[in-house]
Each structure stands twice: as C-alpha cells, then as structure tokens.
C-alpha cells in the first residue's frame, strides 16, 4: 500500500441516517504528529466524521485505517468481518476523544476520572496510575484540583481534566469534537492553550472546531467541509488566504 506512513487514513467514508446522507465519500489522511483542523458550517458532517473515526458512529461505507489496520473491522482468512465489541474497545484505546460536553464521570474526582481507564482497561496498579495522573494534571495546570468533583470545576477546568483523562491511555491520536463550543468565552483560551501545547509536543490531533485563529496558528492541515463532502483542504495559510471554492469563501466571510 502507498502512504504507509499515514497514521490515519480514511477512504471513501460515507454515513447515512435513514435516507439522509451526512457523509458522502470522505477521503483524507493524517500523518503522525500532524494537527488537522476540520471546519465548516453546522450540519456539514464534521462531528459525524470525527465520531466515525473511532466508530462511536458506525459508518455506512468506506474504510478507516489506523496505523494500516482497518478500524471496526478485521481481516480473517481473506474475508472482512465486523469486530466484536471487545476488539473494538481494544482499538479505541489508541484514539483519545474529547467531547464538546466534556462527559467527565460525575461520581469520580478529577484524579479518579484520569486513573479509571488505565486501571480498569490496562490493569495498571493504582499507585502507578496516580503518579501518571499527577503528571497529566500538572500538564493541564490542575494539580491542585485533583480531589475536586466535576461539578466543582469550571467548564474550562472540566475540559482540561477530560483532555488529561484521554491522554492517560497514551493514545496515538487525539480527536477533539468542538472542545471549546460549550465554554464561556473567557474560558476558551485555557483549553486552546493546552491543545496548543499538545500540538507542540508532537501529538497527532484531529480537531473539529469553530476557532479559526487556532486553526490558522496550530493546524498543519485545514479541511473545509460542507454538505457531507470535503470542499477544500490544504495548509491553513493557503485555504484561509486564497480559498478556491465559492462555498469556502462564503463560510470564511461569515466567520473571519
């Protein structure tokens, strides 16, 4: 196969809800260490695309490869089979996901949220998991909030804990689904700051966002989606400065 170096490769991905076609033949690839931002008007299918990448949404067609291995499916004796739920769970460990609504576990402290998956899924010892969790809390600037419950934290703090929780599984790839859309404007910066830092450290990231300045400054690739297709893609400097397509121009005129 060509492009063997791509960490994530999406081929002709499509998704329909009933008769409504949300994704229509999406192909893209993400190299290790790349930050890809996906922008576009609401309803364009960006979030569905992101949710298909780790099979939270089961695609209607097409294949996703993570590290050259198909996601959600596996080859066996020359035939392609659907994965069992447990096999899928094993694969999802490699793709961290950060949600618009944070989805921290409300019955656990920030620390417990972070050590949960390493202990339950990877069977890591509590002590070891706690040590790692404190390193991650430090990274997101919340070491002093370890024993706080989610409802005692601001939205920005919750989202930073959610990022640390995903990082605790050492994913190869981080997916961000509009991570700052549910935040008060003054809290957006702290979350974007953490994401910027992650990008600098070389984390591979796919980010669905409305934050155009983040996309411009941090992204290696910018994808503009509309109507379930990729309308335009390329380095952000090119796409933002010289959009080729009329739909891209119209969208950028509204948001910039």
């Amino acid at each position: 196969m060509t492009m063997a170096h791509a960490l994530l490769r999406v081929e002709r991905l499509s998704k329909s809800f009933g008769r409504h076609r949300v994704l229509d033949g999406i192909s893209m690839s993400v190299d290790t260490g790349d930050v890809t931002c996906i922008v576009g008007p609401s309803g364009s299918g960006k979030s569905t695309l992101l949710r298909c990448l780790n099979w939270l949404e089961v695609p209607s067609g097409g294949v996703i490869y993570l590290d050259g291995v198909p996601v959600g499916m596996r080859w066996h004796k020359g035939k392609l089979y659907e994965m069992t739920p447990n096999q899928l769970a094993g694969q999802r460990q490699h793709m961290g996901m950060v949600f618009q609504g944070f989805h921290l576990f409300p019955h656990m402290t920030a620390l417990e949220n972070i050590i949960e998956a390493p202990m339950v899924v990877k069977k890591m010892k509590r002590q070891e998991a706690v040590q790692e969790a404190f390193v991650l809390l430090d990274k997101v600037g919340l070491q002093d909030r370890a024993d706080y419950y989610p409802r005692q934290l601001s939205g920005g703090q919750q989202q930073r804990v959610a990022i640390a929780r995903s990082l605790a599984m050492h994913p190869k790839l981080m997916l961000f689904d509009e991570p700052t859309s549910a935040l008060d404007p003054e809290l957006v910066g702290e979350v974007l700051g953490v994401m910027r830092q992650l990008a600098e450290e070389g984390m591979t990231m796919v980010v669905v966002t409305h934050e155009m300045s983040f996309a411009r400054d941090v992204a290696d690739h910018l994808i503009f989606m509309d109507g379930g297709v990729i309308v335009e893609a390329g380095p952000p400097s090119v796409v933002l400065a010289k959009p080729q397509h009329a739909r891209t121009k119209a969208f950028l005129a509204r948001v910039l």
């Binding site: 447990n86 769970a89 999802r92 989805h103 019955h107 339950v120 005692q152 995903s166």
Partner: protein, 313 residues
C-alpha cells in the same frame, strides 16, 4: 378604579433600617385550631375506649410468638427484595439489549409478573404440585436425571418467596431500566472512547450513577414489600400478621392483637424510611470534598469497587 393613596414614610427613617412587620395568618390559626380539636378527640377515643384493651396490647407486644412472626416478616422482606433486585438487574439489562429476543422475554416477564396480583401468585405457587407433580433436572425434551416431589419443594415459605420476589423483580426491572436510561448517553460514549468494554462501562460508569437515581424508589419498594409480606398469612405462614391472627383466634382479643401488628409494621417502616434517607444523603454528599466523602467511601467500595485491588495485584 380607586387606588390607595401612597402614604409617605415618616421623615428621618432610612428604608434599609426597616424590617417590615410580619403578615398575620389568621387562616392558619383557624385551621390549626380545628385540627387540634379533631386530634384531641381522636386521642381521647383511643385512650378511653375500653375495647382497645391497651393492657393486652402491652402484654403481647413482645410476646415470643409475635417476635418470631416479626423475624419471619423481616426475613421474607429481605430475601424477596434481594432476589427481586438481582432478577431485576438482569431483566433491565435484557430490556435494554439490542437483541430483540432478550427484549421480548424481558417485556413479557414484566408484563406477566406486574399484571398478576401477588396474592394470586402466592396461592398459585403454593399449589404448583397440582400442575407439576414432580420437578426435575434433565435435558429439555429428553431424559431427566433427578426429580423431586413438588409437594416437598414447595413449602409455604418457598412459595411466599417466589410470589413476592417475582413480583418485585418486575417492578425492580422497570426502576433499574429507567435509572440506567437516565444516565446521559455521553457517559457511555466517554467510557467507550477510553477503550472500556460494555461490561466495564456498565459496572464502573453507568450503574454507579444509575444507583443514585434508583435508591429512592428501591427504598419505597422495600417499605411496600414489608407490607406485602402480610399476604403470606393466606398460606398459613406465621409472619407478623398471621402470628397475631393465631393468637386472637384463641383468645378473641382481635383488636388489641391487630394493634400489636400495626405498631410493629409502623416501627419497621419508620426504621426503613430512616435508613433510606441516610443512604440517599450519603450518595448525594458524594460531591463534597472532605469528611462527607470519607464517610461515603466505604459504601462506594462495598457497592462497586470491591475486588479491583486484589485483581490488579
């Protein structure tokens, strides 16, 4: 239309120094007076009506026969709730499964056991021998390995446990299902995105949160169950009520012995109410740092943390 002339406040008074004189509530006083009179006359009737035979009530309140019945009532309540809840969890998970056969089975089970009155069930189970003279273990449609005489398996006690716990299982399943569904879908997605299997997510993320929602109705059901157990008197099982009945059938002191049973039922349901409130408060105090959390820790560990440390080691 006339408006009241606005009265000017007296001079040299700052508005924020003032506290308005509290409103009088004459209707409260009138209502309270009526209630108090009614209550007083009720107490007077209770105290002075010789037919109540309070001395007899006192004499039988701690009678060994009554205490044995009390114990049986408690055992029945506890067993029926435990078995009912265990079945309920399984039924709720089946009901939420994507497998249509599981769904249908669970639906039919709930439909049947919620629809048939527990009293009918008790009598039915007690007379199971009329339907199946023997009960055995073997291959379906094939040979039997062991068989028992149904009349030996079905005692008043086992019939009572079956009738009560199967009824409870149907109600518990619906409660647990509602509790699980009330936990937001985002929680399951977050767990899945971390690589947790469905079983791990259910045990560690969904059920602990659902529990908080389910505890109040479970408490309610436990109190209902305490009272439902009095139905077993039709099977001549000497629970609290039947023990009282047995005594008054000998002594003809019907009212005082019914009072004895009433007092014990009230005492037990009060205790259960207090316990339920305590648990609810503990679970709600979960979000507080510090002491409230520490108090909570043992309960949490008991309910959904057991075994993990050992397994990891």
């Amino acid at each position: 239309m006339t408006t009241l002339p606005e009265e000017a406040p007296p001079a040299q008074v700052e508005a924020h120094d003032l506290k308005p004189i509290a409103l009088k509530h004459p209707s409260w006083w009138a209502g309270s007076a009526i209630l108090l009179v009614a209550l007083a006359s009720f107490v007077q009737i209770l105290a002075t009506n010789a037919n109540m035979q309070w001395p007899v009530v006192g004499a039988y309140l701690f009678h060994p026969e009554i205490l044995a019945g009390l114990q049986r009532t408690l055992v029945l309540t506890a067993l029926a709730m435990i078995i009912g809840l265990a079945f309920g969890v399984v039924l709720a998970i089946m009901r939420l499964s994507k497998n249509p056969l599981f769904q249908a089975f669970s639906w039919a089970w709930i439909w049947f056991f919620r629809g048939v009155p527990p009293l009918v069930q008790l009598i039915f189970w007690y007379n199971l021998a009329l339907l199946f003279p023997t009960i055995g273990i073997g291959v379906p449609f094939g040979p039997q390995f062991v068989a028992w005489d149904t009349n030996q398996l079905i005692t008043p006690f086992s019939a009572a446990i079956m009738g009560l716990s199967l009824t409870e299982s149907a109600y518990a399943a619906e409660m647990i299902r509602a509790g699980i569904q009330a936990v937001s879908g985002g929680q399951a997605e977050a767990a899945a995105s971390l690589g947790m299997t469905r079983a791990q997510s259910l045990r560690r993320i969904i059920l602990p949160q659902a529990l908080r929602i389910i505890i109040p109705p479970i408490g309610n059901d436990t109190i209902s169950m305490l009272k439902f157990t009095s139905l077993v008197s039709v099977l001549a099982l000497p629970d609290l009520l039947y023990s009282a009945q047995m005594i008054y059938s000998r002594t003809y002191q019907t009212i005082p012995l019914l009072l004895v049973a009433t007092i014990w039922y009230l005492v037990l349901s009060t205790i259960l109410t207090v316990i339920e409130h305590r648990i609810e408060k503990y679970l709600a105090g979960d979000h507080l740092p510090g002491p409230a959390r520490l108090q909570m820790a043992w309960l949490k560990r008991l309910m959904w943390r057991t075994g993990r440390v050992e397994r990891v080691a």
